[in-house]
């Protein structure tokens, strides 16, 4: 009968809803206020942030003490981490923190365990001191344990360089392209010889590199906005030169992978971990890329940390896991697997780093990254650095699309000042 069928459907639907609600209730039984008891721990990192095989080995090694579940988080890692920490649910017991996000986390240091209280100081000598300092608050708390560093270099297509009559051997390239202007001049030659190839992928990367080469960034250590000063203007002008010289491929979107693969981009200025991006975008181009020193000197770009949120039920164990994953031997594996340049100098003499890299035609890239790592200038990075620098990149894209450099510069500076004020600066 119609009515009873109706009733049955309704009851069924309601029942399903009830089951669903109840099901999700029970399914989340383990997720109360923290990631779990000491019997189970969670580790969050992003794709390319750690070597998956090292993580798997860590899981096995500590299996008797805890069940370590690792999640590779997609999307906006920082937003997910902050949202989780705000909600105090599903907070990971060990989490990665990207290098560019670390300065903004330092003011909230009380959300993380001070690793010095777990005996981190004993290991300090094994790690590069400037990297170690980046994970520390002003009052001496260590919240981030170093994973990798990002010494920059010039990745270039030696085959395209050869086609354009440019030198191909890394040492010669470095010698002949010691300054930005020399590098750009070579780029003009390259583009003339191969019109579909540009020297750089976008102006923003050059801007990043030059800003990283100077002594200070957008906010100085006393908290004053200096994003309108000469050192930033120089970086800006250098970046804009790629546009005016016509050697900028202007790639700022998802087509980067395809354009790397098909030879639109002749070289990339990037950190050591960027090699992984190139390799994944263009596996067919193995052997055609080389690495040379960055014009005008190296800088540090990226390079991340592992941290322990205070919700972790067993920080001592978490610290053991962290320090094992990040010991010199495993950091060397990180380099082989995910191009993560170690922050432990002891790794630099290990075979994983001293042997040639097949993708780069057997070149021993340590010969470029090693000296780069030693010569990275010391820079203060303010918590608001990431937010304040955003307008410059937006405006550089405008310049790439035809806006005049001066008007874009003023817009960038005024927007940066506004953001600086909003983030609590004065």
């Amino acid at each position: 009968m119609e009515l009873t069928r109706r009733q049955a459907i309704r009851t069924g639907l309601l029942g399903a809803a009830g089951l669903a609600a109840g099901g999700t209730l029970t399914a989340c039984g383990g997720g109360s206020s923290s990631g779990g008891s000491a019997a189970a721990m969670t580790l969050w990192y992003w794709s390319g942030g750690l070597s998956p095989s090292v993580v798997t080995d860590a899981t096995k090694k500590f299996a008797s003490q805890t069940k370590l579940t690792s999640s590779v988080i997609g999307g906006d890692f920082k937003q997910k981490l902050l949202t989780t920490m705000t909600s105090r649910r599903y907070v990971p017991d060990i989490t990665g923190i990207k290098g560019e996000d670390m300065p903004a986390m330092l003011p909230d240091a009380d959300r993380f365990v001070d690793l010095n209280t777990l005996g981190a100081a004993k290991l300090k000598s094994q790690y590069l001191s400037w990297k170690w300092a980046q994970g520390m608050t002003t009052d001496g708390k260590l919240i981030g344990f170093p994973i990798d560093i990002g010494p920059t270099a010039m990745f270039y297509r030696s085959d395209l360089f050869a086609q354009a009559g440019l030198p191909t051997d890394p040492t010669t390239v470095a010698a002949q392209m010691k300054t930005w202007d020399e590098y750009f001049a070579a780029g003009v030659e390259l583009h003339k010889a191969i019109p579909k190839t540009y020297l750089v992928d976008n102006a923003g990367d050059i801007f990043t590199a030059v800003v990283g080469q100077s002594g200070s960034r957008f906010i100085d250590s006393s908290g004053k906005f200096v994003g309108d000063q000469d050192h930033i203007r120089t970086a800006w002008d250098t970046a804009v030169k790629t546009v005016t010289l016509g050697i900028d491929a202007k790639i700022n979107d998802n087509s980067w992978n395809g354009n790397i693969a098909n030879g639109t981009v002749g070289s990339v200025i990037g950190a050591a971990w960027h090699a992984l991006d190139i390799e994944q975008a263009a596996p067919a181009l193995s052997g055609k890329w080389r690495v040379a020193a960055t014009p005008d000197g190296p800088s540090d770009n990226g390079g991340s940390f592992l941290a322990i949120p205070t919700t972790c039920p067993d920080p001592a164990l978490a610290f053991q896991i962290i320090t094992w994953i990040l010991n010199p031997t495993n950091q060397a594996r990180g380099f082989t697997d995910e191009a993560l340049f170690p922050s432990t100098p002891a790794s630099y003499t290990m075979s994983a780093l001293t042997s040639g890299d097949k993708y780069f035609g057997g070149q021993k890239t340590i010969e470029v990254f090693g000296p780069a790592a030693q010569n990275i200038p010391n820079q203060y990075v303010a918590p608001a650095d990431s937010a304040v620098s955003a307008p410059y990149y937006n405006q550089l894209i405008n310049v790439e699309n035809g806006t005049s450099s001066d008007s874009a510069w003023s817009a960038a500076v005024s927007q940066a000042k506004q953001i600086f004020a909003q983030q609590g600066g004065s």
Binding site: L13, A16, A17, A20, G31, G75, R88, R89, G258, A261
Partner: protein
């Protein structure tokens, strides 16, 4: 102009519209079944290729597609059930009965219609924190019921579809309020429920910004969030992304095509009186 020419012109123009309307789906299939290098070709391939399974497996290795689809299904079904029940009951009350404060309460609904839901995002997140629902699918299901559209729509529908005489007769037979709802109203408003149900289901399936914020547990996300993550995955390429997009939109399109008649009849009825 002869009738025949008119007919050809008419259908011809409409078919152009159909092509514009459906072409992106076709193109998605093309992209999803070819290699990225075929796509980054000049000219790109315009027909289906054979790479669908490669792209799908690449996509599966980047996101938990079927897990997130299951979560989405769970959320969509639960939301639909909840909304149908709450809204039909409340709409019936508004449509057929007067009671003190009715105008005020209904006016309140009207007011919130214009509010962008994004206003409530941050505080709603805080409420979820207090309730301990962050990362839970419950956080998606329950707030979805706080939507005035369903009530408006069902009220219009109920007030015209359910004759007062029937209710009166039921009352004479001794039916109280709730029995009138269950035995008289519900059977009659079934088409309206079908429309609202499908509308809610599709809305829940396609919801993006709120799940993006509140599903902090990476092992429990919905399909749209997983799909967007494809875009930012390491080694993202179009073929893989399109394979994901294709599989994600297929279920809803299928559901819709199956129930198209009821759905459109309902959409129309509600708008006509809106």
């Amino acid at each position: 102009m002869s009738k025949r020419t008119k007919g050809i012109l008419l259908h011809g123009t409409l078919m152009i519209g159909v092509v514009l309307s459906l072409f992106p789906f076709y193109w998605t299939v093309v992209l999803a079944t070819n290699n990225t290098s075929d796509v980054y070709h000049n000219p790109p391939k315009l027909i289906f290729g054979g790479q669908l399974f490669t792209n799908i497996s690449h996509m599966l290795s980047n996101i938990d597609f079927f897990g997130s689809m299951f979560n989405t299904l769970l959320v969509a079904v639960s939301t639909t059930a909840l909304v149908l029940f709450l809204d039909s009951l409340a709409a019936f009350t508004f449509a057929k009965y007067d009671f003190p404060g009715k105008r005020f309460l209904f006016g309140l609904l009207l007011l919130t219609f214009m509010l962008p839901m994004q206003l409530a995002l941050i505080p709603e997140f805080e409420i979820m924190v207090k309730l301990n629902w962050v990362g839970d699918l419950r956080a998606l299901v329950v707030p979805a019921a706080a939507n005035a559209f369903g009530i408006f729509w069902m009220r219009q529908y109920t007030s015209s579809a359910v004759p007062s005489e029937l209710l009166e007769a039921a009352k004479l037979d001794g039916c109280g309020f709730f029995r009138q709802y269950w035995h008289v109203c519900l059977p009659i408003i079934r088409p309206g429920l079908a429309f609202l149900g499908i509308y809610t289901f599709v809305g829940a399936w396609n919801d993006y910004i709120w799940p993006l914020i509140v599903l902090v547990n990476p092992n429990r996300i919905t399909l749209q969030v997983a799909l967007a993550q494809l875009n930012t995955a390491h080694g993202a390429d179009y073929s893989m992304i399109m394979a994901g997009a294709l599989l994600a939109l297929l279920p809803v399109v299928l559901v819709f095509v199956l129930f198209a008649r009821q759905f459109m009849a309902g959409a129309v009825k509600g708008a006509l009186r809106g």
